[in-house]
Amino acid sequence: MISRALLLVAFALALPLPVWAQSGALVTHAAGVTLVSQSDSSAALVGVEFTIAAGLDRERLRQDGLAALVAQSVLETPSAGGVSLSDAIAAHGGSVAFTMEAHDVRFYVEALATDAPAVLALFERAAASPDFSAATVRAARDALMREIAGSQQEPLQVGIEMLDFAQANGGNSGLPLFGTPASLVQLAPADASAFYRTYYRRGGSSISAVGRVDALGARALESFATMLPVGATAAVKTVTTPLHGNGHELVARRSISAPWLVVRYGAPSLGNADYGPMLVLAAFLQRTLSDIGEIPGTITPTLASRAVGAEYNFDRVPGELVLYVDGAIDSDPNRTFGAALSVVNILSATRLQGSIAQFKTIAAGDFATRASTLEARAWLGGAFTRRTGSADYLRVTLRAIAATTPGDLQRVARRYLASPTIALVLPRTTTVQN
């Protein structure tokens, strides 16, 4: 499993369009499924991402954790050798994991090129016919419980989950990714089976392959496209009472050593004209926040500079920009938190002067660096195809960054940075006033 926090992507800046911005991705459609193929003969591995419209917004409110329970049950389904799909794929030289999102669940399968056909066949069988016996669902529940226990010790993850819930106004798309221990024990195998039968459909799904795709054989992706039954589904509409209050502050306490500030701003999604400027803006904020945290004069990045950050999550609808600060970097967290928020306020209220070329360069470099792994490339290829119709994420992004002007930056700052929602994750012994 991969938590959403780990998949937030921050990006930012502008360069002439380099020659390497040509991905050579191929987009086709088969059986109602979008297929993206990025063949790379230099790669040693094959990675395939399956995106299915069976995320959090398919849950009813009382089914908190059901989407993850179903996805984890696929991974726990008995496979070759009588072991779980995860273990069977590992024994074949590969791996499988899922990422839960507001609207989708994404399975990522990766393997050595020579093993990839067998590994993908194992996944195809399990995904097409998962086991929802009591034993398998129990194993899935146990795995999710461990994941929840781990994530609750991560202040950034806790803060983001609070902000997600607030953003969704208490609706299903903002429910905890893996549910809660209390909700999971209420879910029975029949619930998982029913959810799977209802929502694991071809409609709205996509398959994105990268690396030694040739090793899968001709028309392999077309074959995978028929893995699930035909049909499309819709999100479950949840009726909630809007959250009221004068402020936009959320507070949680955990067994951590220092407070964390996590701030969410609305942001444009992929495909929006403001995508490029927001990448540059995110780079500007990342750099400025790092400067706040960094010890002056250091040549190489330190732990302090990594304790602050700006992450632009453009694959969500709506998009979001998340700023975070680990209060441990300063003996006075209030001062650091205040400085971080002041940066944003000043940026949105002051006329920008000077060149933004440096931030455009950083944004482009950051995007390219983060797009280096097969998993990132598979995800980007699929996400850009769904949102923009083009899998050429490098070209699209670098053009958007290159076209950004200081005026764009100012406009986007004013439009999106005015109304933050703030989450504070505090040590158990700390008060909000402190």
């Binding site: 380099p18 020659v19 040693a44 591995l45 330190t302 732990l303 950051d366 280096s372 097969l374």
Partner: protein, 439 residues
């Protein structure tokens, strides 16, 4: 090889462990970038792994040099000299650090007891410019007082940070017990920041002139570049011998288990392993580390995860010229049962594994190797490490490494475990004064 990621944390950044490697001969099961190697025009050797699909380029320079200077009496000298070279103004008017950052790239400096490496990951368009700056900074180092001041500040921050990195502290403690002499038995950056302030400009300059020579350099480049990029290397000092690999002398017999006080509970276990020249044995211990300790999927790691304990387990075989070291650290516990769990799992491998289980574990190991070497940064890193340790063609991801891995069998792995992993040294870090200090 897997332990490199954690081992690399002795410096500042965690290196992105990386894929791909390196040999010019196509691999039998994979198609990683072919590696071209040769001599630089003005001294030193290079290796280039071209991957046209990569969005960035990684450029590393690796030097053999003792971390505490050639007299062995200046703790942190290599770190300060390497950082000062990156902070010194070049002919362009910019420092290397500024050149990399302003190109949208990332600069990292890593120091190990026997090696120094400086690396940059940059957008491809900037690769040629950064390579020129990198080699200018290190093939003709010109450190001034301002650069030394910046480097000392940088090293001081790292020295302070180390106190909060439990696995680094435990690793350094283990090395201090495994080896009888410097530089291996002292941390590359001293814990006491006082020592750093005594490094003089003369010492830093003299060290840089001797260590950072083209003829002592291994240049590795990976990503969307072509070999013509080497024309950007205009500095150098002509052919001259590279320094020989710096070996460590193990303590014999290894000291008895000990307990010390620290800021957080931890356990460290280490064994002396084979030199890099015994490639099959080294590969067997890489396999063992992967099978038992790889995050989440290693058998011991998975068992600890299932138990619900909050222990951060790291296990790796550190491939060195001579000898290698198997390291296991457990952060978040000083419970003897966790230590016993590790030692029992290692002991169990003294007997041959079931053939089917072994075959599956070996295939998984091959997959993990490619996962860990898939980005340009990881490829340049792995090429440089193995070249500097004296076995460039053996780097994981290459044809030779895969051939050796496929030659492993349960009997050989068991024999290797019996030979090298029977006699560990153990350190236990406890919190508070109840332990009574070292025992």
């Amino acid at each position: 090889m897997n332990g490199r990621a954690s081992f690399a944390r002795r410096g500042a950044l965690v290196l992105a462990l990386v894929p791909g490697m390196l040999l010019a001969i196509p691999r039998s099961t994979t198609a990683t970038p072919a590696v071209e190697s040769g001599a630089l025009a003005h001294g030193g050797t290079y290796m280039i792994a071209v991957d046209a699909a990569a969005p960035v380029a990684a450029i590393d320079l690796w030097f053999r040099a003792p971390d505490d200077g050639y007299s062995g009496e200046t703790p942190g000298l290599a770190r300060i000299a390497a950082t000062a070279a990156a902070a010194a103004k070049l002919a362009s008017g910019k420092t290397l650090a500024e050149t990399v950052t302003q190109a949208g790239g990332q600069l990292s400096i890593q120091v190990f007891p026997d090696l120094v490496t400086v690396g940059a990951i940059v957008p491809t368009l900037a690769a040629r410019r950064v390579l020129a700056s990198l080699t200018a900074a290190y093939f003709a180092p010109a450190i001034d007082a301002a650069a030394l001041h910046a480097a000392t500040s940088d090293a001081t921050v790292i020295a302070v940070q180390q106190h909060y990195e439990g696995d680094v502290l435990v690793q350094d403690l283990l090395f201090s017990r495994l080896f009888a002499s410097k530089p291996a038995n002292e941390p590359p950056v001293p814990l006491a920041i006082d020592a750093l302030s005594h490094v003089t400009l003369q010492e830093a300059s003299a060290f840089a002139q001797r260590a950072f020579r083209a003829s002592n350099a291994f240049l590795t480049v990976a990503g969307a570049v072509d070999p013509t990029i080497l024309a950007a290397v205009t500095d150098g000092n002509g052919p001259a011998p590279a320094q020989a690999p710096i070996d460590a002398i193990p303590v014999s017999p290894l000291p008895a288990p000990t307990t010390q006080e620290g800021s957080g509970p931890a356990i460290g276990i280490a064994w002396i392993g084979p030199p890099i020249s015994d490639e099959r044995a080294a590969t067997a211990l890489d396999f063992v580390a992967d099978y038992l300790f790889r995050e989440r999927v290693g058998t011991v790691s998975a068992a600890l995860d299932r138990s619900g304990t909050r222990i951060d387990l790291n296990g790796q075989f550190v491939t060195l010229h001579s000898p290698g070291v198997m390291l296991v650290t457990l952060e978040g516990t000083d419970d003897a049962s966790a230590q016993t769990q590790v030692l029992r799992a290692v002991s169990a491998l003294q007997q041959p594994m079931d053939p089917a289980a072994f075959a599956a574990a070996r295939e998984a190991f091959l997959y993990h190797l490619d996962v860990d070497t898939q980005t340009p940064g990881e490829q340049a890193d792995m090429l440089g490490w193995y070249a500097a340790e004296g076995a460039a063609s053996y780097a994981p991801g290459g044809d030779e490494y895969e051939r050796i891995t496929r030659s492993l069998d349960p009997g050989y792995v068991a024999a290797t475990v019996r030979r090298y992993l029977s006699n560990p040294t153990v350190v236990r870090i406890v919190v508070g004064s109840s332990s009574g200090g070292a025992s």
